[in-house]
Symmetry: C2
Subunit: 184 residues, 2 copies
Amino acid sequence: MGWKRVRTKLMHKGPFLSLYRDEVIRPGGHPGIYEHVTVDDGVRIVAVDQDRLIALVEDDFHLQRRRVLHLPGGGTGGEAPRVAALRELEEETGVVADEVRALGVIDPLPATTAARTHLFLATGLRPGAVHRDDTEAGMAVQWRTMEAALAAVQDGEITDAGSVTALLLAERVLRSTPSSPPGP
Amino acid sequence: MGWKRVRTKLMHKGPFLSLYRDEVIRPGGHPGIYEHVTVDDGVRIVAVDQDRLIALVEDDFHLQRRRVLHLPGGGTGGEAPRVAALRELEEETGVVADEVRALGVIDPLPATTAARTHLFLATGLRPGAVHRDDTEAGMAVQWRTMEAALAAVQDGEITDAGSVTALLLAERVLRSTPSSPPGP
C-alpha cells in the first residue's frame, strides 16, 4: 500500500531550490503526477540569556514583502543542524552558546518538500562576533522575555513555523527548569 | 531598503505547484536571483469532542515515504480557510463542528514559499459523512487526549508543522477553558 514512485525527473535545478516531477501510483491504486521541491533543511534556535531573555531577530523577507520577526536560524548549508544553528546564532546575534539541546524536528510543508526544520534551545551565552550576509543587511536583534515572545506568537507577530514551534516547545522545557542557578 | 523585485519569470507551472525566478536587489544593495514556489495555502484543525478527545489522522505521505500522524486538514483548494478546514474535517474524520475559532496563521517555509497554513479549533462535534480522495486511501482516524497528543509531539511522532503548532496553541486556549459545561 502507500505511494509508489515509478519514475522521477529533475525539472529545474536552481542555486537553492530544485523541482522534481514524480510519476507515482497513489495509495488508492491509480497513477498520478506528484511535483515537489528540495531545499536545504532549516534550523531555528531559542537562545536564553542569564536574565531569561530570548534573542529574536527582525529582517526583510522577500516573499512576505515585509519585515519578519523570528528566531535566529537559517539554512543548514549542508552542515550538521546543531553546527548550523550555533553558526547562525553567532552570525545574527553576536553570541555563542556553551549549552545546546535539541527541542525537536518538524516537517514544515510535508506535502511540498521533504526538507525539515531542526529546533534547538541554547543557554550559557557569551559574546561572539556578528557577521551578516548580504540578504541580512538591516537585521536587528531584540531580547524579549518568554512571556513577551509568546504574546508575539499569539498576536500573530511571530508566524514563522520553526520560530513558533521552537518557542512553544522551549516554554514547556523551561517551565520545568529552575529560573536561576542555586545561590552560594 | 529591503528586497526589490526587478523582474519575475514563471519557470514551471504544474497542477499544484508553480516555480518562479525573481531578479532582485538584495537588502545589502547587490543584485541576485531568488527562486520560490507557489502552492495552495493549507489548513489544520484541532477538533475536540465532548470527552475532550482530539481527532488525529494517519495516512501515507509520499515525500516522507512513511505513514504520518497529523491533524485533519489539507490544501484550501481556493476555498476560504475556515470552509476548507471544516470540509477536510468532515471528509477525513466524519464529523462536523458547530463551533470553530481561529488559532492563528503560520508561515511554514517563508524563505521558499509565501503559502500560509491556517489553524483552527473546533468544538460542538456531531456525525457527518467520511469522504476520502484517492491520495487518502488507507487513512485511519484516532481520538486522543490532549495530553497524549502533546506527548506525541514531544516524542517526535507528530512533526507536521501545522499540526504541532495548532496542538500547542489549542492547549493554551483549552487550559483556560472549563473542562465541561456546568451541570444541571
